[in-house]
Assembly symmetry: C2
């Protein structure tokens, strides 16, 4: 069997996760990592895989079946995905929800012009959560959909904490409010405010001699980040920080609570949840599964831009349609 | 907008559920119910919808866009689906897992010969549970998948109870063992036997003067139905039975517990669960959503047989691809 040849563009947490996820799929091989850094400064986890300058990527266009782009959504992907799709079939995890239509249009245009296929906004949200919202809302037409995130590390909020005066180290966990989840599961279709749904829990290592009360107040009142939430600030020492806060867990819940029947008196609940020991390793695993789908759809002659909504589940699996029907249906 | 014209073949619990689900979808209309009974004996919940003899269905082939076949899997669907796909685009909920490949082949052949599209084995298991197994296994390649059913009424086991001597009324609930679910959620990937995963809880109204101890023993030792499970038999009076056991709840869990990372030390958990106030009403809602997908795929010129694995999520939604990307991604 000819393996699917994968390239990775960008080698941060997500790129490292993709590298590891490829190892779990024996129908794929990693053929190169493309980086903006000096290639010789990038140490991979896999011996023998070459590292190339991202600027030279086009030279390798015949050697890569699917380029998985592992840049950030704020500034990298809006540039990189439309640029790389000129030479490659590409996948990204673009997650700035409000800008997805614009990003889609840019990637679709470039992909159609070059005859390639691009898949955007894959991962778990957007991605798996999105398609669970669509399935659930198509099936239970009368109802409410709720998305909860966490418990998990928010990089944006952790960065915000670290900008507060007197903070040496900081990390923020977004936590769903258990009583809100239970209210949703009950079928009551509650109206929930931002504050009702999530709370924010911070762990801070303060600079020596810093004013802890001031740090706590600065965090809790920070506009757009913390002011609309119930926030807890825990001060810990650096050793504890390093020992207990060195992973990137995340997860969440998509719950659709609906009504069926002649008088809409029957309660029906669909719940999808993720409990992730590592957010980047899981997101990487999603991207790699969609790389398989992409290589198949490309072989069928498809071009342009696709999202999770456009891709039939069977395309993700290494099993054949016959095997899927016999063993998974 | 031209509505999708739906026909219902078979008017039991599932057919009645389909009739109600169509009301929740304003892009669809019910154009007729087809029955093996005397049409005048069938009273619909919707005034003005005609009831026709199933034997005359072919006469109405130009009036129906999608025929939703609501027969049973044991004997009805293996006959009806390949027969009706000669004249209609069809959907069924065929759920005899072991015979799906054979049923698929029969429907695929007849559908391709007649230029129609058939979708089989839709509902929640097979159906939504199946596609969650496929997504989860494609993403977490290293791991174990667990399916739990219930709490819910098993018609087959309820029928079995009612055949026991001295039983006047009987119903059986399949219940997942909570401690087994918790063990799976912990990431321990436990080996679970049939007895570990589910227990069976029966409610029985005994005939007057019946030997209750004998009934209990006959149920608990019944081969293929109860002997491999921990079974509880509760005797109740008929009034309680009518009051407390007059609905058909069901549900269940598909949990994939996987490992990622360089040394496979990161635990990742994907869980999909349903809590259904009415099994037939929910299954009907799934069939109706797939009827929308079918009408679109048929308009694209697709023929043959499809399952949930072959159908991209976006096809189920009444929203356009642009709306889905803007609002659900």
């Amino acid at each position: 069997m000819k393996k699917i040849r994968i390239g990775i563009a960008g080698y941060g947490n997500l790129g490292r996760g993709v590298e590891l996820a490829i190892r779990q799929n024996d129908d794929m091989e990693l053929v190169g990592v493309f980086t903006r850094r000096a290639p010789e400064s990038v140490k991979l986890q896999t011996p023998g895989v070459p590292v190339y300058p991202l600027a030279d990527a086009a030279k390798y266009k015949d050697a890569v079946d699917v380029m998985i782009i592992c840049g950030g959504s704020a500034t990298d992907l809006p540039e990189q995905t439309p640029a790389l799709v000129k030479d490659f079939n590409v996948i990204d995890s673009f997650d700035t929800h409000a800008r997805i239509p614009e990003h889609f249009a840019n990637v679709d245009k470039a992909a159609k012009e070059s005859g390639h296929l691009g898949m955007i906004s894959l991962g778990w949200d957007p991605g798996l959560f999105s398609l669970n919202r669509v399935y659930a809302e198509a099936i239970l037409r009368n109802g409410e959909t709720y998305t909860f995130w966490g418990k998990g590390v928010s990089q944006g909020h952790s960065d915000a904490i670290r900008r507060v005066k007197g903070v040496k180290r900081g990390i923020q966990y977004t936590c769903p409010v258990e009583s809100a989840i239970e209210a949703v599961r009950s079928g009551a279709q509650p109206k929930l405010t931002t504050r009702d749904k999530h709370e924010r829990v911070c762990y801070v290592v303060a600079e020596e001699g810093a004013d802890l009360a001031q740090i706590e107040q600065d965090i809790k009142t920070m506009k757009n980040y913390f002011d609309e939430y119930n926030t807890t600030v825990n001060f810990i020492d650096e050793e504890t920080f390093d020992r207990e806060h060195n992973t990137l867990p995340h997860g969440g819940f998509v719950i659709r609570s609906g009504k069926t029947g002649a008088d809409l008196s029957t309660t029906q609940t669909i719940e999808y949840s993720l409990k992730l020991g590592s957010n980047p390793e899981f997101t990487a695993s999603v991207l790699v599964a969609y790389a398989r789908a992409l290589s198949r759809l490309s072989a069928e002659g498809q071009t342009g831009c696709k999202t999770a909504f456009d891709i039939a589940p069977g395309y993700l699996s290494p099993l054949s349609p016959e095997e899927l029907r016999a063993h998974c249906l």
